[in-house]
Symmetry: C2
Subunit: 586 residues, 2 copies
C-alpha cells in the first residue's frame, strides 16, 4: 500500500500518529516561515504543513509542487493552531517529514474546484479532470448508491437480475436502432436494444416470475439536451400480477430509495388518470409540488364578442395565488414567455382580483364586473390573486398553460428541490392517431394490454381504448413507466393489425414472441425506470449528463476519445461494407 | 395478485389453509378415482389433487389439461397419504376446489425436465422453454447470486461501480472490434468495447481510486465452443496500490464468493511464477487439484543412442502414481491421445516401476536398469508407479505433457468438481515475439507495467522483461487476470514504440490516455474476471453458454430471434452504407 490513510479520515484523536497520505495537490500557500499544501483525494482534503525553520530543504522542495501533482507524503498528525471548521479534517494537519512526487502535472486546462472556470466542451474533453471536482464525483457516488440500493431491494423481493443480450435484432417500430454489422454473416446486422422489452417478456414465458436488470439501452435519435444515445434503465417484469401489484411493488422500491439515498419520506404516492392529468395540468407528468390546477372556462368566456375566445375550442386558466400586485412588466414577461415558439400561445389574458376587492382584467372591454365575478367564482380566487387565461385548440392550449403553470411555480418558489411529490399516472390511451401517416401508433408499445372493459372498443373506436399502462412521475419528471402486457397470441396479433403490420411483417419481426405465446405464457406486467433521470432528480439537477461518467455531446460525439471515427479500409472490407461518398453540400 | 403462495413453499403446517397457486402443468396422472397434477413454478412443484368422487366435473376438466398449460388453482392444503420425500413440498398437496386456465399450451418441442430430449439447437431456438427446466433456471439463479455478492463485497470495500460507455472507439490492437455506424457522423463508426480498460484507467486519473463494474464486453472473433461474441466481466481498478494489494483485495472477493455462494473454504491461494508454472505444469493455468509435476530429464535421457530423445530440445515426464498395472490397451489409448493433432506429440514413452521392484520401459533397448533407476530417482517414483515421458521442442512438448497430465488426472479421478484449488500465477512475460509478423505483442495489453528491476532490459532484451501481471486460476481455469499499469507517459510511449506503433499511430489511438497522463496520473493497477466462466466453474460446468440467458451459437447467431438479419434499404441509406455483393462461392 502506498498510504496508511486517505485524505478524508484523520481527526483529533489521530494526533501523534505516523501516517502516509497520497493525493493531488489542490493548492499551496507559502507564508514565508510555513508552507501549507491542501492534499486531495476521493475522500477529502488534508492540510500538509512544511516548516521552513525545522526542515528548510523539504520546505523549499514543497514550494516547487504545482497544482495537481500526485505526491506521497509521510509525517505525523498534529493539531492545527488555526482550525478550519468547514472541512471534517480541519482540526488537524500533517507535519511532513518526507514526500515524493509520484507524478508531475502540467497546469490543468481549468481549475479543479467546485466552481470551475472550464466551459462545458472543455470539461467534457478532459472529463477525467472534471471528475476530480467533488461536485462531479459526488454525482457518480450518488449513482453508485442508487444502483446498489435498487439491487439490494429488488433482490430482497426475490427478483432475479438476468443479463439480456446487447446484440439483438433491428425492428422498424419505435425509434431508430443503432446497428452492428456482422462479419461472420456478411450483409446482416445486429441491433443494439432500445430496451430489453421482448427478452423480459420471454423470461416471463420462461417462468422467471420476477426479473430485473440495470441495463444500458440505445436509441439513435437526433439528440436534445437531456438525451443520450446510450442511457440506463432499471428494467423490471413480473408474472401472475395485475397493475395494482406493480404499483405497490415499485412504490416500495421508490420509498426504499427515498429513504436509503436521501433520508426522505415522500409521503403518499398520489394516483391520477391520464385524462385527469391532461385536463387538470395539461401534462401527463404534472409537477404536484404545487397545485394551481387548470380551470376550464370555455362556456363562461364565449359569446361576449371577444373574438379570440369565441373562436377557441378551449378557454382555460390558472389562479396565481397572491399575484394581483404583479407589475405590467412582470405580466409582459409572462406574455412573452407563452408566445415563445416552443410554447406557441398567441397571447395571455389576465384578471387581477385586487386586495381592495376590485377586478381588473386585460379584457375589461368584453367582460363587465358581473362577468368577471363569475371568473372569480370558477377559479375560487381570493383577493390578491391573479387569474391567467389561455385559449385556442384544446391540446396545444393545455400544453402551453402547463408551461405557464410551471413557470409560475418556479417564479413563486413553489418548486423546491428538496420536496418530492410522487404520482402514478394511470389509464393512458392505448393508441395515438398520427395524422401524417394516417395510422395508429402504440402510445406505450405494441405489447401493452388494453383494459378488459375497453377491448370491445378495439374494433369500433380504437382511439378511445384505455391501456393498463402507468407512469411514475416525481416533481414533473417521468421517472418510469410500464404496462400490463398482452399474453394472448390472438390479442397480440390484433394489436399488430391495428398498428398496420401485415401478418408477414408481424411474424418476421416478432415471430419469436408470438411463437413463445403458443407454449403457455403467464399473465405478466412490467415497468422500466430511466436511471440517469432518476439519479439527476435525486441529485437536484435537470441534466442527466451530470450523472453519466463519460457522456456524449449533442452531436453524439465523445469529445474526449474523439469517437465516432473512421475505420481502416481493411476493417470495412472484412465487414463487406462500403461507405457512400457524402454528397457535396450535404 | 393472482396467487397467495408459490409452488415451492407449502409445508405440513399450512394444512387446512385456503390457498391459490399459479403455474405450469408439469405432468398429470389419472388414477381413475383421483387425478394428480404436478404444478410447477420457479420455486418448486406442488401436487394438485382432483377427486372423481367428490368433484367429478372438476376432475374431468382437470384431465383435459395438457403439459405446460398455465393454470390458477384454488383449494385447501391437505396432508398427503403417500408422501414424496424427494421434494420439499412432498408432505402436502392441494385439494382443488376450482381452477381456471390462464393460457393453453401447444405440446412443447422437447420435454421440460432436468433430463430433456431436446438437442442443443432446438433448446436454443426455444430458449424460453429451456429456461423453464430447473437445471437451466438454477444456472441463472447462481449467476444472479454471484453478481449480487460481488457487488456487495466490493461496495463494502469502498469500490464505486461506474458505468463506462458501450459506444467507444475502434482500436486495431488486440482482437477485432464490433463496430456501430454513426448516422449523425456519416462515414464514422463507434466500436463496442472489448473491455473498459482505458476508461477505468481514466477513472483512476480522475481520482476514483476504487472502481468496479460488472460489464458486457464484445469481441468479434471466430467463435469456439466456450467463446461468445458478448461476454461479461467483473472489471476492477485501484489507485495507490501495488501488486500485493490487488492480490489480497481480490483474494478477499474470491473467498467471499466461495463462502457466500458455495459455502466452501478454498484454503490457501497458492502463488507461482509464470516460469515455474510453465516448467512444472506446462501451462500458465495449471490445475492444482492434483500435483503430478513435470520432471525434466533431458540430461538423463540424452546420449544413449535413442535418436528420438537425442534430437529433442526437451525430454520431460510425469509420474503417474499407482499406474504400473495399466494394461497395454490403456497405454495405447494414452499414446493415441497425445498423438491427436490438437496435442501433437509424436509418441509416448513409458516406464513402469512394478510392485515387485522390476522396471519395464518402452525404451528398454536404450536404457538398462541402472539408467532407469536414475529415472526412478529423478521422479521420486515408488513401486506401483508409471513414468510417462514426452520429448521434442520445449514449448510444444510442455503443452502436450500438460494435456497428458490433465488427462491422467481425469482418468485417475483426481479432478473432483467440488474441490477448488485457487492459484495466483505471477510474473508473466511482458511481451511475446511473433515470428510471422516479426514483432513483439503485449502478452497482457500495452498498458501493463514491466517490473522495475527489468526496465533496463526493455532496450537490450525485451523478450526477457517480466511484467507486473497476474492471473487468478482455479482448477486449471483462468478466472481473471490483470496487471499493474504504466502511469508514466514516457514509459507508455516506449511501450507503444516496442509494439511497433509510430508516434502518430499511438497518438491517434490512445492520445486521450497519453494526454491524461500529463495531468497527474496516480500509480494504479487492476484486474478483470471472466464472469461467465466463473459462474460456470462454480456451477460445475465447462460451458459458459449454460450460464448465459440468451447465448449465441458458434456462428454468432441468436437462433431464437433469428439475428443478425438484413436491414431495410432505408436504414442503410440513412447510415450512408452499401453492402457489398457477396462473391459467388464465398
Amino acid at each position: 500500500m502506498y498510504r496508511t490513510h486517505n485524505c478524508g479520515e484523520l481527526r483529533l484523536n489521530d494526533v501523534g500518529n505516523a501516517i502516509t497520505l497520497c493525493g493531488w495537490v489542490q493548492r499551496s500557500r507559502d507564508l514565508g516561515g510555513m508552507t501549507f499544501i491542501d492534499l486531495r483525494d476521493r475522500y477529502g482534503i488534508t492540510q500538509l504543513a512544511f516548516n521552513m525553520d525545522t526542515r528548510p530543504d523539504l520546505c523549499r522542495e514543497a514550494r516547487k509542487l504545482g497544482r495537481e501533482f500526485v505526491i506521497r507524503a509521510i509525517g505525523i498528525v498534529i493539531e492545527r493552531s488555526s482550525k478550519n471548521h468547514k472541512i471534517p479534517t480541519g482540526e488537524i494537519e500533517m507535519d511532513v517529514i518526507s514526500f515524493e512526487i509520484l507524478n508531475a502535472a502540467e497546469t490543468p486546462p481549468f481549475t479543479i474546484e467546485d466552481e470551475t472556470d472550464g466551459g462545458d466542451e472543455l470539461r467534457m474533453k478532459y472529463r477525467y479532470l472534471d471528475i476530480r471536482r467533488s461536485a462531479v464525483r459526488k454525482n457518480l457516488e450518488l449513482r453508485h448508491k442508487m444502483a446498489f440500493y435498487t439491487r439490494n431491494y429488488l433482490a430482497g423481493q426475490h427478483f432475479l437480475e438476468v443479463e439480456t443480450p446487447y446484440m439483438i435484432k433491428s425492428t422498424p417500430e419505435g425509434a431508430r436502432d443503432f446497428v452492428v454489422p456482422s462479419r461472420m454473416n456478411q450483409g446482416e446486422f445486429y441491433a443494439l436494444p432500445q430496451s430489453p422489452q421482448t427478452f423480459k417478456q420471454l423470461l416471463m414465458v420462461a417462468g422467471i416470475d420476477r426479473y430485473f436488470q440495470i441495463v444500458r439501452c440505445f436509441r439513435d435519435e437526433d439528440l436534445r439536451a437531456d438525451r443520450q444515445p446510450e442511457f440506463t434503465q432499471i428494467d423490471c417484469e413480473m408474472s401472475f400480477v395485475d397493475q395494482e401489484d406493480i404499483l405497490s411493488t415499485f412504490e416500495g422500491l421508490a420509498r426504499h430509495l427515498f429513504d436509503a439515498v436521501l433520508g426522505v419520506d415522500p409521503g403518499v404516492f398520489q394516483r391520477m388518470t391520464w385524462d385527469d392529468a391532461m385536463k387538470k395540468y395539461g401534462s401527463d407528468k404534472p409537477d404536484l409540488r404545487f397545485d394551481m390546477p387548470f380551470v376550464e372556462m370555455t362556456d363562461l368566456a364565449k359569446g361576449k364578442n371577444f373574438v379570440v375566445f369565441d373562436s377557441s375550442e378551449l378557454v382555460v386558466g390558472i389562479n396565481a395565488t397572491g399575484c394581483a400586485e404583479w407589475s405590467r412588466k412582470q405580466i409582459d414577461e409572462l406574455t412573452e414567455f407563452v408566445k415563445r415558439p416552443q410554447i406557441g400561445a398567441k397571447g395571455l389574458i389576465y384578471m387581477k382580483y385586487n386586495t381592495d376587492g376590485t377586478l381588473k382584467s386585460s379584457v375589461d372591454k368584453f367582460y363587465d364586473e358581473s362577468e368577471l365575478k363569475k371568473w372569480v367564482a370558477a377559479f375560487n380566487a381570493k383577493p390578491g390573486d391573479m387569474i391567467l387565461v389561455l385559449s385556442g385548440d384544446a391540446m396545444p392550449t393545455r400544453k402551453a398553460l402547463c408551461e405557464l403553470r410551471l413557470e409560475m411555480g418556479t417564479r413563486l418558489g413553489l418548486r423546491p428541490k428538496n420536496v418530492y411529490k410522487p404520482l402514478w399516472v394511470v389509464d393512458f390511451p392505448l393508441l395515438e392517431w398520427d395524422e401524417e401517416t394516417r395510422r395508429f401508433y402504440a402510445m406505450h408499445h405494441p405489447f401493452t394490454s388494453p383494459k378488459k372493459e375497453d377491448i370491445a372498443l378495439l374494433s369500433t373506436n380504437p382511439g378511445k381504448v384505455r391501456a393498463n399502462a402507468y407512469d411514475l412521475v416525481i416533481n414533473g419528471v417521468e421517472i418510469g413507466g410500464g404496462s400490463v402486457r398482452i399474453f394472448d397470441r390472438s390479442l397480440q396479433n390484433k394489436m399488430f393489425e391495428l398498428l398496420g403490420f401485415t401478418p408477414e411483417e408481424a411474424e418476421k419481426q416478432f415471430g419469436f414472441l408470438l411463437n413463445a405465446f403458443r407454449y403457455g405464457a403467464p399473465p405478466h406486467a412490467g415497468i422500466a425506470f430511466g436511471f440517469d433521470r432518476w439519479c439527476a432528480l435525486f441529485g437536484g439537477s435537470d441534466s442527466i449528463r451530470d450523472y453519466i461518467a463519460f457522456p456524449k455531446n449533442n452531436a453524439g460525439r465523445d469529445v474526449m476519445i474523439e469517437s465516432p471515427s473512421t475505420l481502416a479500409q481493411a476493417q470495412l472490407d472484412e465487414l463487406g461494407l462500403l461507405v457512400r461518398q457524402r454528397r457535396e453540400g450535404n
